[in-house]
């Protein structure tokens, strides 16, 4: 009995010592436990995005109003970065319609818009996590019976630790110059 206990304890110690990352800052959104599935069917955690700055948006594939322009806005942002800066910035697009936006639909959108999937992740969350994810990002949404979702359009800039550095509600195709300035500042500082 006692040796079993000792074994378990030592395993715990080993495991925890192994991948012991620095503690998460208290205002990081990665404190939220949110499993996701990306456009290639791979499972990941929201917190897996830690380590690289991110621009996060919420959208859904069958959206015909502002979602296309949200993507335009992020692409516009991309174009205004140097190649080196782009490498240090990931893009995470989380679907507001997990019922319909499985990996296939997400992949179709990525292909259609010619998105660079080495940097852009389109993700399907769990239905039960949707409000919480929107809550930490400050997105407001209402699903309709028709399957459409009414929602606010927001670009959220996270640093490598998951802290919100900037938000922009300008999603009409051209990135807000103020927001762009903050992206530059973040990517040049380190």
């Amino acid at each position: 009995m006692r040796s079993m206990l000792a074994l378990v304890l030592s395993l715990v110690v080993v495991v925890s010592a192994q991948g012991a990352p620095a503690p998460l800052p208290r205002d990081s959104i990665y404190a939220l436990d949110a499993p996701l599935i990306d456009q290639s069917g791979r499972s990941l955690q929201l917190a897996d995005k830690r380590g690289r700055a991110q621009v996060v948006v919420m959208f859904y594939t069958s959206c015909s109003y502002i979602c296309p322009t949200i993507i335009d806005t992020v692409q516009d942002l991309d174009r205004k970065l140097t190649a080196e800066q782009r490498q240090r910035l990931g893009v995470l697009m989380i679907s507001l319609d997990p019922q319909r936006d499985g990996p296939a639909a997400l992949k179709a959108t990525a292909d259609k818009r010619g998105l660079d999937v080495t940097r852009w992740t389109l993700a399907q969350p769990r239905q039960q996590d949707l409000r919480a994810i929107a809550g930490v990002l400050g997105v407001r949404f209402r699903p309709l019976a028709s399957g459409e979702v009414n929602h606010t359009g927001v670009l959220v800039l996270l640093d490598a630790e998951g802290r919100i550095v900037a938000r922009s509600t300008k999603t009409s195709g051209q990135v807000d110059p103020q927001f762009l300035k903050q992206v530059h500042a973040l990517l040049t500082s380190g």
């Binding site: 998460l24 800052p25 208290r26 205002d27 990081s28 959104i29 404190a31 939220l32 959206c63 015909s64 109003y65 502002i66 979602c67 409000r131 919480a132 929107a134 809550g135 930490v136 400050g138 997105v139 407001r140 949404f141 209402r142 699903p143 309709l144 019976a145 028709s146 459409e148 979702v149 009414n150 929602h151 606010t152 359009g153």
Partner: protein, 254 residues
């Protein structure tokens, strides 16, 4: 010996039910006219039968929760889940103190914290529709909203500043469903508070700008006479998930 065991078993069972925590009341559900006019479905809304806590969650209830879930104590909680004034009326992270009586409704609590509490009870926060449905009742009728007296009582509460000490839960008479304190005590979180897509300029009614919320203009208020409910919508739409205020609490639903 057997008799002893039976008595012991019975008393343990009794203790268990007492320690079971807050009481839930069953509501039958049905169709009713919401004060909000939705573009897709109009005002008529259907509510499935559900259960609602008869009173808001108290300081004592919440204290028990943070003791068993230390990640929700105020010095440990992540900043994205609760702003810095979270539980600031308590004397300590696990101590209520003089400003937070056990039977008062818990306040300075964020949506994330409220959701976590309900989840730990095997429950959830009520939806706005469920809350509005339960709150339409007065002591005798399930829908008292047409009665100006009902409206006046609620408006009278809005007119009082928040400086006065909160009453303990459960002191008001139950409404026709058996639920207490939906009005006159604290504002309450709903699960889908962020679905209230109201324009920050609340006067935008019949807003034709469909791009505002990606396919819909701001929510219209169907029954503009019902200021009492309108103000609740205004309140919830001004908040974010990590926010907390001195007059905002919650209760759970199942």
């Amino acid at each position: 010996m057997r008799r002893f065991l039976i008595t012991l078993g019975l008393s343990l069972a009794v203790c268990a039910t007492h320690a079971g925590g807050p009481k839930y009341v069953k509501l039958p559900g049905g169709e009713y006219d919401s004060v909000l006019k939705y573009e897709d479905s109009g005002s008529r809304v259907r509510v499935a039968p559900f259960s609602l806590m008869s009173v808001p969650v108290t300081n004592a209830d919440f204290l028990a929760f943070v003791r068993t879930h230390p990640q929700w104590q105020r010095d440990a909680v992540a900043g994205v889940f609760a702003e810095q004034r979270y539980l600031s009326h308590w004397a300590g992270a696990t101590e209520l103190g003089a400003n937070a009586l056990p039977k008062q409704p818990v306040i300075w609590v964020s949506w994330f914290a409220a959701s976590a509490y309900c989840k730990a009870q095997g429950a959830r926060l009520p939806t706005w529709t469920e809350w509005e449905y339960a709150a339409a009742a007065d002591e005798l009728r399930t829908d008292a909203r047409a009665d100006p007296a009902w409206r006046e009582r609620i408006l009278a509460w809005y007119a009082q500043p928040s400086k006065r000490a909160l009453a303990p839960v459960g002191t008001q008479r139950a409404n026709a469903y058996g639920v207490r304190d939906l009005h006159g005590l604290v504002w309450e979180w709903t699960d889908d508070f962020s679905a209230l897509l109201v324009s920050a300029d609340n006067r935008d009614q019949g807003d034709p700008d469909r791009l505002k919320f990606c396919g819909a203009g701001a929510l219209s208020v169907g029954d503009r006479e019902n200021y009492a409910v309108l103000m609740r919508v205004a309140m919830l739409s001004s908040l974010d998930g990590a926010d907390a205020t001195a007059n905002l609490g919650f209760r759970c639903a199942r």
